[in-house]
């Protein structure tokens, strides 16, 4: 079965304000890029697809597991990058995940045993993105993955996205940057004032 995620007539209300309004989207294999101005509801849309926030109206359907990497690294302070990724892989029942190899591939092998609060923001971002390799879930949701990254880091993200698309995973990318990625996208969503249109 091909990976997919969809929202039907979904409305999300945060602080008594509708942030996403009556949105229907279907995400299938390949790259989907979501763009829009600040406050348009891009992050909320992604969190709604991930099931992290409740829908005030509408429904959500997902086939296959979801990997959501937010615009913050989602790694627990006090633990190292290796401990964080091992924990999440073990939780998913993937005891065979090669966390060390993934962290080395993302260029943070030398700091993978340091508590994550003692590594740089860019290194934390790389460690978080290494989850794309350790958790091969069919649906991948990436919120501003290029933030804090240097040029090499950006290339690693682009390679990881291309690899995920080749593996028939459904990748949703929320970003303001790298408009050249649009030409590789299977779907382009534009958000404005909580509503979605296809570009």
């Amino acid at each position: 079965m091909l990976p997919s995620a969809s929202l039907h007539d979904a409305t999300v209300v945060l602080d008594d304000r509708p942030v996403v309004r009556g949105v229907s989207v279907e995400i299938g294999p390949g790259l989907t890029i979501a763009r829009g101005p600040n406050g348009a509801g891009k992050t909320t849309l992604l969190r709604a697809i991930a099931g992290l926030i409740p829908l005030a109206r509408g429904s959500r359907q997902v086939s296959g597991g979801i990997l959501y990497i937010g615009h913050r690294p989602m790694l627990l302070r006090g633990l190292s990058a290796r401990q964080n990724l091992r924990f999440i892989s073990a939780f998913r029942g993937r005891t065979d995940a090669d966390v060390v190899r993934a962290l080395e591939h993302w260029g943070v092998g030398a700091v993978m045993d340091r508590p994550i609060e003692r590594i740089s923001a860019g290194q934390r971002r790389r460690a978080a993105l290494a989850r794309i390799d350790t958790e091969p879930e069919p649906v991948v949701l990436l919120d501003e993955p290029f933030a804090d990254l240097d040029r090499d880091g950006v290339e690693l993200v682009r390679d990881a996205i291309a690899r995920a698309v080749r593996e028939q995973r459904a990748v949703v990318l929320v970003t303001h940057l790298h408009e050249e990625l649009d030409r590789d996208a299977a779907r382009r969503l534009v958000l404005a004032d909580g509503r979605v249109s296809l570009a």
């Binding site: 979801i66 959501y68 913050r72 627990l76 939780f91």
Partner: protein, 222 residues
């Protein structure tokens, strides 16, 4: 993976983080120790030595220490949105609740052990029924985290969480405080049947709130 295995994974993650960043334990130990010390200074050795007074002060100190520990634990989860990594996983919400309850019970037990030993030595308490005292202490500690973690999760995104959690949790914890205090006092005084009676209430309390937490937490976490 079974639900219990997932909860144990979260508990281990929590204990690892607490071990490497022990500021929550340090604050709780300091707080509990200072409360016992101030009690002995404020009441004088005669009244502070009374089993009823010593038990009440000890459990009030442990209750506040538990809130401190849980608060620090969720502060850590909210930094960098670490909590979202678990909540987004299938079965993550239940495991988060159960794992936090297990881990915090272990950490509170350490604080209670230290504060209890300090109380016995400083206040020169006469322990008539040591085994009963240990049983009451264990069940008193086990009864705390189900409520405090539940309330903390419900109030997770509330800006005044530090204030809201004690206000919501303490009325719910009144039976625990009453039973643990009375049970501890009975064990110190040598009343075995009363001590055992209060342990039954503490066990029931922990069970009810544990089940309640697992029932409502999946819907309560945003």
């Amino acid at each position: 993976m079974r639900a219990l295995d997932r909860a144990l994974l979260v508990a281990r993650r929590e204990l690892d983080a607490e071990r490497r960043q022990p500021d929550g334990v340090a604050a709780a130990l300091t707080f509990a120790g200072l409360v016992v010390l101030l009690e002995s200074l404020a009441l004088g050795p005669g009244r502070a030595h009374d089993p009823d007074v010593a038990s009440a002060v000890f459990w009030i100190a442990i209750l506040f220490a538990a809130v401190l520990l849980v608060s620090r634990s969720f502060d850590r989860e909210l930094e960098d949105d670490a909590i979202d990594a678990i909540v987004a996983l299938e079965g993550g919400r239940d495991a988060l609740y159960a794992g936090k309850v297990l881990a915090l019970a272990a950490v509170i037990a350490i604080v209670a052990l230290a504060a209890g030993a300090f109380s016995i030595v400083l206040l020169d308490l006469d322990v008539r029924l040591a085994a009963h005292l240990v049983l009451v202490a264990i069940l008193g500690v086990v009864a705390l985290p189900p409520v405090v973690v539940l309330v903390s999760l419900i109030a997770l995104r509330v800006r005044a969480r530090v204030v809201i959690v004690p206000i919501l949790a303490f009325p719910l914890l009144a039976p625990q405080l009453l039973a643990a205090t009375a049970g501890t006092s009975a064990a110190l005084s040598g009343d075995a049947s009363a001590a055992l009676g209060w342990t039954g209430l503490l066990a029931s309390f922990a069970l009810v709130y544990g089940v309640l937490g697992l029932t409502i937490v999946p819907a309560a976490i945003e």
